[in-house]
């Protein structure tokens, strides 16, 4: 951070002007960034007639939560009109186990790759790392066929399996990079005291891991919840996760276009990740930067 004020309080005109410019720019940008969300929020509580007589960019004159209840329980997705609720639960059912499994595998892999290095450990890590950046389009067709062969296409289990598999590389990356910075001497000391692979893991490594576990859970949860490509490819009808169902709801063309319901549904679908971001934003940022900078 640059502290231009340390050479005594210079409150010159140009300084005030400069500060004003900085704050002006920041507040202007903040308003622009907030705008789409505020528009969604405001539209979702306005009655449809009011929206249609004007634009979606307006404060509500009359507040109603009809659009929210409709988005949750009655809105039509394709020909079925029972809202997002069942899809919301499917997303939870798919995402929560996947997050847990990738976290456990991440701990194990990161630990094995850093504290019990074997010949070829770097190659193994390199290959898994590259897996983080493969465009999923390049594996989509074989995965579709494989799921079909095992009879688990279009099931929540199949989708969870896919999300877990392609979540492993990132979890491994997170935990590996975190454990590299834990001194090897700690592990050595434990083994001299007679601790083995798993007891060292359990008594030494795991207690040091909560920060990176939080980072990993947030990263995986956000990614898996927001996944669209796999959901759109490997699920259909009632088994669709909430993001896919949302897209179908917005693009359902039968009947009157209800913008307020679309936006209420959007916010409902985004709520879990927004919640995670608001509660643990610090860790979210750390995950984003850890996943990218340390490549």
């Amino acid at each position: 951070m640059i502290d231009v004020n340390y050479s005594a309080g210079r409150l010159s005109f140009s300084h005030v002007l400069g500060r004003g410019f900085i704050y002006g720019c920041l507040i202007f940008c903040a308003v622009i960034y907030m705008m789409p969300f505020l528009i969604m929020l405001s539209t979702s509580v306005r009655p449809l007639a009011e929206i249609k007589s004007g634009t979606i960019i307006a404060f509500p004159r009359e507040i109603t939560f009809d659009a929210w209840t409709k988005a949750w329980g009655e809105a039509c997705i394709g020909t079925k009109c029972s809202g997002l609720s069942s899809h919301f639960w499917i997303s939870l059912k798919v995402v929560i186990p996947s997050v847990l499994v990738t976290t456990i595998l991440g701990v194990l892999n990161g630990y094995a790759l850093t504290k019990w290095k074997f010949r070829g450990a770097n190659l193994v890590f390199g290959l898994m790392l590259l897996g983080c950046f493969v465009p999923f389009q390049a594996i989509l067709l074989p995965m579709a066929q494989t799921l079909g062969v095992f009879g688990i296409s279009n099931t929540p289990f199949g989708l969870a399996l896919v999300l877990t598999l392609y979540g492993i590389p990132f979890s491994t990356l997170f935990f590996r990079n975190y454990y590299v910075s834990i001194p090897d001497d700690l592990v050595k000391a434990a083994t001299i005291d007679g601790a083995g692979f798993f007891s060292t893991l359990w008594y030494i490594i795991v207690p040091l891991s909560p920060p990176i576990i939080v980072v990993n859970i947030i990263w995986q949860f956000t990614n898996m919840w927001n996944d669209f490509l796999f959901g759109a490819s490997f699920s259909n009808g009632d088994g669709q996760p909430v993001i896919v169902a949302l897209n179908n709801m917005v693009n359902t063309t039968t009947g009157v276009k209800e913008y307020n319901v679309d936006f209420a549904a959007s916010i409902i679908a985004a709520l879990p990740t927004i919640l995670v971001y608001v509660v643990a934003g610090k860790y979210f940022i750390r995950g984003l930067t850890a996943g990218s900078v340390k490549g």
């Binding site: 640059i2 340390y6 074997f118 389009q137 989509l140 067709l141 598999l165």
Partner: protein
């Protein structure tokens, strides 16, 4: 047996046992990582080869593993739609990267000036990253809709001839995707650069400041050059995100009007699952993969080399 040999035996025994234990412990780490590693080997590398195989097969509606040489690639490159997707990719990708960088760095530098409410502002700039592209795409679709959003809003204010209908204009629609994507990613670039700015040595900056260097000069000649590696990281990550962009296009324009806003990712999906052209879909997927790897592999290589040099 004398007491001495007995204890010697025992010690040799425990020695051997600890050797065994040690051997097993060493193996244990391989055993632990094996399931993940082989799973990745199959579902990433195996499946890539499989996709590659589909791309040189006769596959159309159903997989057909008769070898077809490069005919699918020939078909791919003779399709106007693919060329539109590539041109869009180029326009979208370069504008997306440049705009996200410029705005992200600008915000990071502003936030770096001892700002009150820095935390709150950072939260606001970064929240789009937590949202699904389907959610933000839906929002931007209606905001940019001429009869419903921005255009109507400005017209209602009294500017009757104001026109902003890019989203339904074949020639301009790709720029609406840039707007939404930059809005979503620039906060992330800001976070990357803010972290880097905070890591710059304060003493050098103080010295330059005392020497009378102006603030913009300090930034352009000292700070920005010292955080060069972050530029590389940011560009690589953004390029990778751009090539994979799929959800945003689906939610905002569905590739339309017509196929005017198609990107390789939407092209691949359409060919594979809607147009019964598995082979062409696979060929386009391989082109995407090759492009991404051409960016990522040298990057990883340079990063790993740096790490081993440290």
């Amino acid at each position: 047996m004398s007491h001495a040999t007995q204890s010697q035996d025992r010690s040799r025994d425990t020695h051997r046992r600890s050797d065994m234990m040690f051997w097993l412990q060493g193996r244990l780490s391989q055993i632990v990582i094996a399931p993940s590693f082989f799973a990745i080997l199959i579902v990433v590398y195996g499946f890539i080869l499989w996709t590659g195989y589909i791309s040189v097969s006769e596959s159309r509606m159903l997989p057909n593993y008769e070898f077809a040489g490069l005919s699918q690639y020939e078909r791919l490159w003779s399709m106007t739609r693919w060329h539109i997707a590539l041109k869009n990719m180029f326009v979208f990708g370069s504008l997306y990267i440049v705009c996200s960088l410029v705005i992200g760095i600008f915000l990071a530098i502003l936030l770096d000036q001892r700002i009150r409410m820095e935390g709150a502002l950072r939260t606001i700039f970064l929240y789009p990253m937590a949202l699904s592209f389907i959610v933000t795409g839906t929002a931007w679709k209606w905001i940019l809709n001429p009869g419903l959003g921005l255009q109507k809003f400005v017209r209602d204010l009294g500017f009757d001839s104001f026109t902003f209908d890019w989203i339904i204009d074949r020639d301009m629609v790709i720029y609406t995707l840039v707007i939404a994507a930059v809005w979503q990613a620039s906060g992330f670039v800001m976070a990357l650069f803010l972290a880097a700015l905070r890591g710059v040595d304060q003493e050098i900056i103080k010295a330059a400041y005392l020497d009378g260097a102006s603030l913009p000069r300090i930034y352009t000649t000292i700070i920005i050059p010292s955080i060069k590696p972050v530029f590389l990281s940011a560009i690589v990550i953004l390029a990778h995100l751009a090539i994979k962009s799929y959800d945003l296009v689906v939610a905002m324009t569905a590739g339309g009007p017509g196929v005017a806003s198609d990107l390789p990712a939407t092209f691949m999906f359409a060919m594979s699952f809607q147009r019964n052209q598995l082979g062409v879909g696979a060929a386009s997927a391989i082109m995407m993969l090759v492009t991404i790897m051409a960016i990522m592999v040298p990057y990883f290589y340079s990063q790993l080399r740096e790490q081993t040099h440290d």
